[in-house]
């Protein structure tokens, strides 16, 4: 027994040590990098919307970031400070990204508000998809078919908009289409006890065929290729707040829905009877059944709710962004959403942060290309996956799925 504890401790120490060494190296590189800007007295211009821009001495700022990171990477080794390795990791990651932004801001104004607003917008389908996955997995149904549900919803929503001549009815149809696909998933995996991965895969493939068929048979033939997009809404008063108003309170509807859902689901999962029951089923369906919860009904309900949220994400592509439908336009975002869900530890706020990281790296990648920063943009695109892998590997905090996730429930 004592030997086992010793091993765990040893493992923990080794992990801490290796992580500290890694971040130490990164931060030293960061400090060395700052000297690059020392000789030519570079100044970074960070723009904050109407408030104007703030000039910062690039070299000094990066040096400070590096020093903070350095201190952060030594801190976990000093027992008395009680700093955990994950703090170190986040400090260093933030430092590196900030340094890159400072670099991009040398010479021309770097619009910080625009960057965050763009990140939020690009993260919307990912966060929604992650919450869709969460609704399913919290009741023990693995849902890898979010991509397919999103794609179907994007297509049906667009078709409905064109035929009914109303964006809002189209949006409603997209949500319904998402839940219908989800009902199929629930039928296969809950009632038929099919392997949930197989069922999800089937739905993903079905969605590609189905949407391609709808597009070719109805949309292209009828020469329906474009529609208006959902309008930008400014919340009165709140949108007038500098910076925050631009980022959070001047958006298109689905972005608002996403932010509202994050709050709503957090409360619903952890403060309501529905949430308690949902989580109980996800952890131990037999126990939930014993106390009189209708497991099957709850599973159907939640999976279909998840489908509705995925439908909203799908509508983001066709009705909020492009005003058209293209084959496979969801482009794997449904799978990225699953990564965001795991990153967020099956919590809506975590999923929001996870989705934002993905959206942020995509936005940053675009802006770096425009600013001609000689970093391979694929590197930035890779970052969130790297972070997710680190989270998955349990290096910085464990991400544990609900105990009965993916297991079919057979009533005895």
């Amino acid at each position: 027994m004592r030997a086992a504890t010793g091993n765990v401790q040893k493992e923990y120490l080794l992990r801490t040590l290796s992580f500290c060494v890694l971040t130490l190296v990164v931060n030293i590189l960061l400090i060395l990098f700052s000297f690059r800007f020392r000789s030519d007295h570079s100044v970074s211009l960070l723009g904050f919307g109407k408030l104007g821009s703030i000039p910062i001495r690039t070299a000094t700022a990066i040096l400070i970031l590096g020093c903070i990171g350095l201190a952060g990477s030594i801190a976990p080794l000093v027992k008395r400070l009680k700093v955990e390795v994950n703090v170190t990791f986040y400090i260093t990651a933030t430092g590196v990204v900030s340094a890159l932004i400072l670099w991009a801001a040398v010479g021309s104004i770097f619009d910080m508000v625009g960057l965050v607003a763009l990140s939020l917008r690009l993260s919307t389908p990912i966060v929604l998809g992650a919450m869709a996955g969460m609704l399913c997995e919290r009741t023990g149904v693995v849902n890898i078919a979010i991509e397919g549900m999103m794609l179907t919803a994007a297509c049906v929503g667009f078709a409905a908009t064109v035929y009914l001549n109303s964006l809002w009815l189209g949006l409603l149809c997209a949500i319904l289409a998402g839940s219908v696909m989800a009902a199929l998933h629930a039928f296969l995996s809950v009632s038929m006890i099919t392997d949930q991965i197989v069922s999800g895969t089937v739905i993903n493939i079905l969605a590609v065929g189905l949407t391609g068929f709808i597009r070719r048979s109805f949309l292209v033939k009828a020469k329906l290729s474009r529609t208006a997009i959902l309008p930008i809404i400014s919340i009165p008063l709140l949108s007038k707040i500098p910076i925050l108003g631009t980022i959070f309170f001047t958006n298109q509807p689905i972005v608002f829905f996403m932010m509202i859902l994050v709050v709503l689901l957090t409360i619903a999962f952890f403060k309501t009877r529905w949430g308690l029951r949902t989580r109980a089923i996800g952890e131990h369906p037999e126990a939930a059944d014993t106390v009189g919860i209708n497991v099957f009904r709850m599973k159907y309900l939640n999976v279909m709710l998840g489908g509705a949220v995925a439908g909203l994400a799908g509508a983001w592509f066709s009705l909020e962004t492009t005003g058209s439908f293209d084959d496979m336009m969801t482009n794997g975002k449904g799978f990225i959403a699953l990564a965001a869900m795991i990153f967020g530890k099956w919590h809506p706020v975590g999923a929001f942060i996870g989705g934002l990281i993905f959206g942020f790296s995509d936005a940053l990648q675009i802006i770096f290309q425009i600013k001609n920063i000689p970093i391979p943009f694929q590197f930035l695109w890779m970052m969130p996956y790297l972070i997710t892998m680190i989270v998955l590997a349990g290096v910085i905090g464990k991400s544990t799925p609900p105990a009965a996730d993916g297991e079919p429930y057979i009533k005895r």
């Binding site: 038929m192 290729s225 084959d327």
Partner: protein
């Protein structure tokens, strides 16, 4: 019972997935097959163009024509093989990314003639004809027009995956713009997908925010997303491959779509199939240029009134000069 229902369900999906496959063959008729890149024969990009070229040839020369739409890059070989095993005489494959699969299959089936759109075969065989296009010339014209129409002196580019045809469009665009205005600022973004209109749009919006007032979108639906952003922000957009006025814009109205940098894939495929019909097919490489009508630019449509006559004249002159070789784009890969 449950099992049976499930089985029937799977069966129906399978039937659905494989619907639209082979037809009964008639003896003696030349059979032409087309394998798309990931995409569809009506996806508004070169897949559709190649398909239209094939259908025109089939009609004119009495071929039997069929197509397979590729769902995954891993299916390229399998799809080509399907046609090969069915005894097709000519197989047209579409897209740069399908090059290797085409070549491999050409080695395996030496009696079948292959036509590869957007492809170049390093060691061309007797049965491999690559169809290339001078995207740089097409892009050059787009760049020249963009530079002449820009008021801010900043123009933008939204590309798909960074592969040779897209790179040539971009470099041609840059050189064309500089040919008009040496000091013009050219922003550009590659997106690592051809089917991400949302990200293409975001890229265009970021460029517009940085002052760009003309956006050239080159990269399937991703690039089209960029053009859509331009239309919304009321700055000029330039399409690619086909006349996007009819595809992306659904036939208008599109007052801000200047033109499209055209790649006449349909003509090239038609010509290749005609050569098979006339028994003059030869393996090798065909390049569609301004000189042979392989590249060019689309009509201005709704934007015609916004483009001054001297700009139109200048553009015509550039096209002529590119055709007769007195002007080169200066793009090398």
């Amino acid at each position: 019972m449950k099992k049976l229902i499930f089985f029937l369900f799977i069966l129906s999906i399978a039937a659905f997935a494989f619907a639209g496959g082979g037809k009964e063959e008639a003896a003696g008729v030349v059979k032409v097959g087309l394998v798309t890149d990931v995409g569809k024969v009506d996806d508004k990009t070169f897949n559709q163009f190649a398909y239209e070229g094939m259908m025109r040839a089939a009609k004119d020369f009495g071929f039997e024509a069929n197509f397979i739409e590729t769902q995954q890059p891993t299916d390229y070989e399998k799809n080509i093989q399907t046609f090969a095993e069915e005894g097709y005489n000519v197989i047209v494959t579409v897209g740069f990314l399908i090059t290797d699969a085409t070549y491999k299959m050409a080695e395996q089936y030496p009696d079948i003639k292959f036509v590869g759109v957007d492809q170049f075969f390093e060691n061309a065989r007797e049965n491999t004809l690559g169809l290339g296009f001078a995207e740089d010339q097409s892009g050059f014209i787009a760049g020249a027009l963009a530079a002449m129409m820009s008021k801010s002196g900043v123009i933008g580019f939204v590309g798909g995956i960074e592969i040779p045809p897209v790179i040539k469009f971009r470099k041609g665009y840059e050189n064309g713009a500089k040919y008009i205005n040496r000091n013009i600022k050219i922003l550009g973004v590659y997106i690592d997908s051809f089917t991400a209109p949302d990200r293409g749009k975001a890229a265009a919006e970021a460029q517009i925010a940085d002052g760009a007032d003309v956006i050239f979108g080159a990269g399937g639906p991703t690039g089209s997303g960029g053009i859509v952003a331009a239309m919304e922000k009321r700055v000029y957009g330039i399409g690619v491959d086909q006349d996007e006025y009819f595809t992306t814009m659904g036939g208008g109205p599109a007052p801000y779509l200047l033109t499209s940098a055209m790649k006449r894939v349909d003509n090239a495929v038609y010509n290749a199939l005609e050569s098979y019909h006339k028994d003059t097919y030869e393996g090798g490489y065909y390049v569609g240029t301004a000189a042979n009508g392989g590249v060019g630019y689309a009509p201005f449509h709704d934007a015609a009134s916004k483009v001054p006559q001297d700009v139109k004249n200048r553009l015509d002159e550039i096209l002529k000069k590119l055709s007769d070789g007195s002007l080169t784009t200066g793009v090398t890969l």
